[in-house]
Amino acid sequence: MGIEKNELVNDFPGQIIPGGNGGNITITTLDKVINWGRSNSLWSLYFGTSCCAIEMMQTGAARHDYSRFGFEVARPSPRQADLIIIAGTIVNKMAPVLRRLYDQMAEPKYVIAMGACAISGGPFYYNTYSVVKGADHVIPVDVYVPGCPPRPEALLEGMMMLQEKIRTESMKHKVNPIDGFDQGL
């Protein structure tokens, strides 16, 4: 008897070797299996400052449904979130709030800049006194999703790119993106 190779889950990062008598042997690395778990349970923070938030809601709603890819629920508290999707314009008054939310999140934490405003200020780049020219002036960003606003498919693509990034991480060589960020390193 025993389980055929990879019969239970087809994206398991490693090998399951049937050992007979119901006992199987699993071959993998801790990094791989932990990253596999983390990348498939990314909970995002409710954070929408303008129209991109509508597309983000649509990405979470029934038609596109990011739960299918492991972004199970969105959380209203930064303490329970792994991911912040910056969906909208960041103004000077919002910047310290965004930074505080980021600082309150538990590590490891990830950031997606969604849409032109969050990437560079977008349509508000020129001649405005109030808009931050890119959320990466405030917190380090992992994935940039261009668009104005991006379609839900584009956001899903960005979120899956972030999952791929997480799968390459290693516990031994941890990198915390906020280290040296304020010094411009």
């Binding site: 020129y126 001649n127 020219k133």
Partner: protein, 164 residues
């Protein structure tokens, strides 16, 4: 209440309004160019009196101030008031302007239409237009220590603005 009857009320036409307001002798200018409303431009010293008259007169009865806009026309600063009557359902626009950019001041109309209190705070915040007799004139959206009035055409901010 007979709603169907109310919907038939269209109030005074623009020309009727113009004739009536002309008879009050407030030295106003009328214009209907490029506008769905009758626009009247009034001198700053007559603004408050005209507002009182527009609201209290039984025929006009403009009891609803639905929009207050600060304006910078390049040389002149001003305020635009959109008025409606909830009984007659006619509308009118009152404009007031001044060429004084250092210390532009108008009379507050928040004692006539209470909603003007917050609208005038906003106009003060972005255009630096002051309002006499306003109970609480301070910055509404901008940080309290902000210097300058960002929606003026001649506003410069070398720190935050990328000029194109």
């Amino acid at each position: 209440m007979d709603l169907t009857k109310d919907y038939k009320i269209i109030g005074m036409t623009n020309s009727e309004l113009q004739t009536l307001i002309n008879s009050w002798n407030f030295e106003v200018e009328f214009s209907e160019a490029e506008s769905q409303f009758l626009n009247i431009t009034v001198k700053p010293e007559n603004l408050h009196q005209l507002g009182l008259q527009l609201k209290s007169n039984k025929e006009t009865s403009f009891d609803f101030l639905f929009c207050v806009t600060g304006m910078d026309w390049g040389t002149d600063l001003g305020v635009v008031y959109h008025l409606e009557s909830t009984t007659h359902r006619h509308q009118i626009v009152v404009k007031v302007k001044t060429s004084d950019r250092e210390n532009p001041t108008f009379d507050s109309v928040c004692d006539i239409w209470y909603t003007a209190e917050f609208h005038e705070m906003e106009v003060f915040d972005f255009f630096g237009i002051k309002f006499n007799n306003h109970p609480n004139l301070k910055r509404l959206f901008m940080p309290l220590d902000w210097v300058g009035y960002p929606l003026r055409k001649d506003y410069v901010d070398e720190v935050n603005m990328v000029i194109k």
